[in-house]
């Protein structure tokens, strides 16, 4: 049984996974004397943020949307997918901002 809450749950799971990947990547990028690492961390953070949306939408579509046959339910699910994608992106950015401020001197601080 597929309902709209599945779209939100999946989006949040994808958001959490992407956030963890982003944090791991940030820590794997070594400090460099020319400071190029700072830009690399920023780029990876935003790329993974966009990927978070894309992957969330893709998985919701592939796993749930294709199994819905009723038109009215499809429209509801599409709306939920869009809202979930937006929420997961905002959640990702807010979580990144909070992590950057908590890890004041660490590598995550380079995100913001």
């Amino acid at each position: 049984m597929v309902n709209v809450s599945s779209a939100y749950i999946l989006a949040i799971i994808v958001c959490a996974v992407m956030f963890i990947i982003s944090a791991v990547v940030a820590n794997l990028i070594s400090f460099k004397p020319d400071m190029s690492d700072v830009a690399q961390r920023k780029v990876w953070f935003w790329v993974l943020g966009v990927l978070n949306v894309v992957v969330g939408l893709g998985l919701n579509y592939g796993i749930f949307f294709t199994k819905i046959h009723a038109h009215s339910k499809q429209n509801d699910f599409l709306t939920a997918m869009a809202i979930a994608a937006a929420v997961s992106f905002i959640l990702y950015v807010v979580a990144g901002f909070i992590a950057a401020k908590i890890s004041k001197t660490g590598k995550l601080s380079n995100w913001f």
């Binding site: 400090f31 460099k32 004397p33 400071m35 700072v38 004041k104 660490g106």
Partner: protein, 550 residues
Amino acid sequence: MKDQLFVIAIGGTGMRCLESFVHLCAIGMFDNEEINILTLDTDQGNGNKARVENLIDLYRKVKSDDSQQVDGGDKNTNTFFSAKLNLYKFFTNYSNDNANTYQKLSNVSTASVEQREEDKELSDLFFQDDTVQTFNLEHGYRAQTHLGSMLMYHAILQAVRNATTNKDKAHDEEKALLSFLTLLVQAGQQARVFIFGSVFGGTGASSIPVIPRALADASKIMGGNQLSLENGAKFGSTLLTEYFTFASPDRSKLQKEGVIASADNFAINSQAALQFYQDDPTVKKCYKRLYLVGWPLKDEDFSEDNGQSPTGGAEQKNPCHVVELMCACAAYDFFTLSSDTIDNIKSAEYRYRCIETVNNVLKFKASDFVDRGEFFLNKLGAFFSLAHIILAKHQAAWIGTKNGGTKSLLDRFSTQNIKDYSTITDEQAGEIDEYMRMFAYSVSSKGDVIVPGWLCQVNNSVGSSEFLFAPSAFPHSAKDIQKIDPGAIFIDNSHNWENPLLSNRYDYFIKHTITDSNSRPKSEQNVKTTKERFLAHLFNGITIAQKFKI
């Protein structure tokens, strides 16, 4: 009460020993000390003298907050640049055409003809009249120590007399000598004085035997308190025998100059000097400790590329040698003797130390330089690593590199939200870079030729012998610099920084220095100026990474 420390560097070799001493101060060997330094030479424009004086000026700038008003910072503990240095510059002024030879100096205008004849006969008895009495003194005493001792004694007394009786007209160097002597007299029995100079050359060899006596007699001219030789300042010095050579002067140069120091005589000069220091009662009374320092391998050749050897002047800028570092370490030993030990020395003690040799290859260990070998190696290694970070990783070795060096290291701190050091200006950051270049190496602005700094020169001087660090820590070309790993300089791998699997040592260092609260400057380090705090932060970060058990 703690003794006050004084250093006197005399002649070209003395200046290079002082250079090593200043670098020992920079690595943090003289914690919580204020050291008054007197540079003393016959040759105002001597290249070695200029180099060490620039170095001390730079050292003071590095510690000061205001680059316009350099106060030399403060005394700190357990950090880089922990000692406060004060510099006094004195030279015997022989630039006047009427007073640039012994003959002219000894020509007393008020003397009668008869007195002059007697003076001449006496002079001729000791000094060859057509050479020793007539050579130009501007470039030193040219290994004529019998003449030099007398002239140096005379010059010191004359300078103090001028500065005392005629303050307004006195030259700057005379005032500087008077200021230094005043501090020495004020310190009295609490003064510990270490003298750097060679026993085989000219100016240093001439001065070491007479300096205590000259300073004591000069203090009498000042009036008031006087420096007592018997129960006053405690003197120590090195007896540094020959370790360098240079091409013998050709006939035309010899004819032109009259007298030129010949390296051929250095060995015999050293031998005679050692016999003198062994027996002379004044030396035994004046000095508490004399450190015998020599070099068993091939002498360093100081000849220029054209095979000529300058008699002195700005051209005389010889590279540093490991024996000079030994001399600086002798000063460390002397300055760290307990008061009880030094007070109980009634007649000069002679000290020496041997270096392990295997198949004619010397194997230097840190404990050969300083009793507390680990303590020394920790500090020297930390400073060398910092030099690599600034010069190699942040590219300050390339003179004129914009936005590199200490500035980019400060930018890193700022980016990682450590704003404590953001008031350090680009100019001040540049001063730290410049010090590091003088300490380790730089790359010539013409092409990619590496210019060895002090530590690389010292390492070069040992040839194929083993020095304190891994050979890979010393770059020989600009390409080598790019491959340097600041955290892998030690022979003993346990002191090299951790090398994480998916990262590198530089990353490890920055990560831990910035995030580890133990790296932050501590109150007991007594660091006050922003730069002192910044340097203490780096010192803490590096020493934690080196894991010495001290």
